[in-house]
């Protein structure tokens, strides 16, 4: 099953995402910010990256930019979890190499539906 790296500084969001994904049978790696995610992504290959935008230490956009530089993440789908108010963030995210985004707030069903879009 695909392994997903879920990055969010909010524990409740992370829990919800993890629970949903694990319930659907995915392997989940959790990270609390971009820096943490980068370390974990280097340690273990993730098939999909799911990251919040606003985080301390390293935000989601910087994370995607860093990950895209790594050969093993060149083609990996990377989704931003963002709010509708942040249209410029979407563009910024795309420029950094994001595959797509999921608009907050979302429910578990929407999360799984979006993931299906990027699963091979």
């Amino acid at each position: 099953m695909a392994s997903i790296l879920a990055v969010d500084d909010s524990a409740s969001m992370r829990q919800m995402v993890t629970f949903t994904l694990k319930g659907a049978g995915y392997d989940v790696i959790e990270a609390i910010d971009g820096q943490d995610a980068l370390t974990k992504a280097r340690g273990k290959q993730a098939d999909i990256i799911l990251t919040d935008v606003n985080m301390p230490n390293m935000d989601g956009i910087a994370l995607i930019r860093e990950l895209r530089k790594l050969p093993q993440y060149k083609f990996t789908p990377m989704l931003l979890l963002t709010t509708e108010s942040a249209a410029d963030k979407k563009a910024e995210g795309k420029a950094a190499g994001a595959t797509g985004w999921l608009v907050k707030p979302f429910n578990p069903d929407q999360l799984l539906a979006t993931l299906k879009k990027v699963l091979s």
């Binding site: 409740s12 606003n54 060149k74 979890l81 108010s85 907050k104 707030p105 069903d109």
Partner: protein, 687 residues
């Protein structure tokens, strides 16, 4: 797939209240006019998380409210808006409303809608006065009646793969919308293999979708690749390009999935969620604690050590030989060490830094000093001093009271301060530190100090002190804790009506602590609270009466002494008083009280343990003093029933149960028993 979203609520509430604290302290620290970008960013992130979480977990009202705050903060962050005092004030008000909203959502009660609406209006007024067009109407999906489907021309840019997108997946999405025919366009493929880059996309596609879904649905499929592909979507009419396309043999028909079913599923799911929310509201909030992962790791580590020691000991026991006695001793010593370490780390789990309680004060002091027209600098030291969570929760209110008092009565208005030659801004210091197994919290102000004469006059007026009594400064200052005592000439809504200080003292006493005051006229006052670090363990003095062992809390013991027979006086034939220096203390014969057989009934044979509680002292007559040790308190009330004069029990090293004496209760008992003696004693002390 159904997931109970309510199971994440608890974590959401916890982290939101942390977020609110971050916002509040961030806002308070925010310099007006010279904003610290990182600080604004931190505040913004906290608001953003609360908004995201509340939206996700079904609290739309909170989400909407936070949205406005977030927008304001976002503008500040982007430098589009100045950080003004007004903006900070309104945002702080917003934090309060959010706290209310979150609390209401947690308890399942309605929030104060009027307050929230008022703050909302204020926030919105702050956001560009006339900006109401923010919510532009969504573009309506206009579907021409004649449209039967869509023709999509999809030409990805060569770099498409590098965004993590895959044309195959996008086409799959598109095909899910209805029966489609797909044609692949190979025209862009390089003719020479040398020119072929495996990481580039050369293919293009034309898809005919035979289903009149809204155009937006088709656009949504390509939403993520808008800038990474050339996408043209044209409607297919009854006759026209569609028929032409249908003739192309390369196109394959794909059936559409049953959409209606998934819609039903979602509705059902939402119904269930609403039900859960109702259930949640009925369930009582469970207390939980957030523990530093390091502490948990240390704990697991120690349990590991314990298991090793245990297996070593059982191996020894399996074939024991007297020759191994040294090994056994070493093993037992190790077990003792493990146990002590384990105990310490388990206790530390309940320990939290006092900053959880201190954090509310910057705000309180800011609001209050503005209200009182005073200038106050708040200094906090020792915020990382840890204490038991229960103690921490209960000390909050007394602290607030003392801080309010210091601001209201202690620190003078700026003009008065200048007249006295002091800086116009007063300083209020909150200080915490450990002292043995106690935590000491000090509330220090550099204000006027307690007015000795006024307190005494007031106490005489109220009949708390007799007209002829001579009291030391210490005793006079202590009067502020007497019930119904207030020296404020004008009762203000800031620090109550003199019903507070006695409650403060009682609350602190309930926690096994003491509060005392030191003051110098014109220089300020220090209120010092001394609390046990935890309520679960007590530093005890073991005392023996006959064959029974009792435990007296070490903090309540003033001294222990051998009885000088000539210092004992008897009143009304039964009550005994002991003259210790210039005081007369009632003697409580513990054997008499608990009805046990002592070694001797003769006072000269035993010892007198002088204990103090609530400012009163008695001498406990015991046969002997044994050691001092920390004891784990077991509640008598939950295991048996309440017994006057006993606060709990513990199990000693030899397995015997020992009662822990309730000093305050004993003093109370002695007072009711020895009424005549008190009168006698009072007469003597006056004389």
């Amino acid at each position: 797939m159904s997931i109970e979203i309510s199971q994440f609520h608890q974590v959401f509430f916890e982290e939101s209240s942390e977020g609110l604290e971050i916002m509040e302290s961030g806002l308070l620290a925010l310099g007006v006019g010279e904003p610290d970008l990182e600080a604004i960013n931190t505040i913004f992130r906290a608001a953003h998380s609360i908004k995201g979480g509340s939206g996700t977990f079904g609290f739309t009202a909170i989400s909407e409210f936070t949205h406005v705050m977030e927008t304001l903060l976002d503008e500040m962050r982007a430098g589009k808006r100045l950080v003004t005092r007004e903006a900070v004030d309104v945002l702080l008000e917003g934090v309060d409303r959010l706290r209310g909203l979150l609390g209401a959502a947690r308890d399942g009660v309605p929030a104060d809608a009027d307050d929230v609406a008022a703050t909302s209006r204020r926030l919105e007024a702050l956001l560009d006065g006339g900006n109401t067009g923010g919510a532009a109407a969504a573009v309506a999906d206009v579907t021409l009646p004649a449209v039967t489907g869509w023709r999509v021309r999809f030409v990805p840019a060569a770099h498409l793969f590098q965004t993590g997108n895959d044309p195959a997946r996008l086409l799959r999405e598109l095909m899910a919308l209805g029966p489609s025919r797909i044609e692949c366009d190979l025209a862009r493929l390089p003719t020479h293999l040398d020119a072929y880059d495996p990481e580039s996309c050369y293919l293009a596609w034309t898809v005919d979708l035979d289903n009149d879904v809204p155009e937006a649905a088709v656009r949504e499929v390509f939403e993520w690749v808008d800038n990474d592909a050339d996408i043209r979507i044209v409607p297919l009419a009854g006759d026209g390009p569609a028929n032409e396309a249908a003739a192309t043999p390369a196109l394959t028909a794909v059936p559409a999935p049953d959409e209606r079913r998934s819609g039903d599923d979602r509705r059902q799911h939402e119904d269930r969620r609403a039900g859960d929310r109702r259930q949640m509201a009925a369930a009582p909030a469970t207390a939980s604690i957030r523990v530093d992962i390091d502490k948990v790791d240390a704990l697991i580590n120690m349990v590991g050590e314990l298991v090793i020691t245990q297996s070593m000991l059982s191996q020894l026991a399996a074939d024991f030989d007297v020759a191994l006695i040294e090994k056994l001793r070493a093993g037992v010593a190790q077990l003792e060490r493990n146990t002590r370490e384990l105990q310490e780390s388990v206790m530390s789990i309940r320990m939290m830094p006092i900053s959880f309680s201190f954090n509310r004060f910057p705000r309180l002091v800011r609001d209050l000093s503005a209200k009182l027209g005073k200038q106050v600098n708040l200094k906090m030291t020792g915020e990382n001093t840890e204490l038991d969570k229960t103690v921490l929760e209960k000390i909050g209110d007394p602290l607030v009271h003392l801080v309010r008092n210091a601001l209201d009565h202690g620190i003078e208005p700026p003009d008065v301060r200048r007249e006295c030659g002091k800086h116009s801004a007063g300083t209020l210091t909150l200080n915490a530190y450990h002292e043995g197994s106690n935590i000491v919290i000090e509330i220090i102000d550099d204000g006027a100090g307690l007015n000795r004469d006024r307190i005494l006059a007031k106490a005489r007026e109220r009949g708390i002190v007799g007209d002829q009594d001579v009291l030391s400064d210490e005793q006079i200052f202590d009067l502020v804790f007497a019930p119904g005592f207030s020296t404020a000439t004008v009762v203000s809504d800031v620090s109550g009506r003199g019903v507070g200080m006695d409650v403060v003292r009682r609350n602190i006493k309930d926690l096994g602590g003491v509060v005392e005051v030191e003051s110098k006229t014109g220089e300020g006052s220090v209120f010092r609270i001394r609390l046990p670090l935890t309520l679960a363990i007590l530093d005890g003095q073991l005392v023996r009466v006959g064959s029974e062992v009792y435990i007296v809390s070490l903090v309540s013991i003033i001294e222990s002494l051998q009885v000088k027979p000539d210092a004992v006086s008897s009143v009304a034939g039964q009550t005994e008083l002991y003259r210790l220096r210039d005081e007369y203390l009632p003697i409580v014969r513990l054997y008499d009280l608990f009805d046990v057989a002592p070694d001797s009934q003769n006072l000269g044979d035993g010892l007198l343990v002088i204990v103090e509680a609530e400012g009163r002292k008695v001498g406990l007559f015991v046969d002997d003093l044994l050691g001092q040790q920390q004891v784990v308190i077991k509640s008598l009330q939950t295991n048996f029933r309440r017994v006057d004069g006993i606060s709990g029990a513990t199990i000693l090293g030899d397995g015997k149960v020992a009662m822990i004496l309730d000093t305050a209760g004993l003093i109370h008992l002695s007072r009711t028993q020895y009424q005549p003696a008190r009168r006698w004693c009072a007469e003597r002390q006056v004389a």
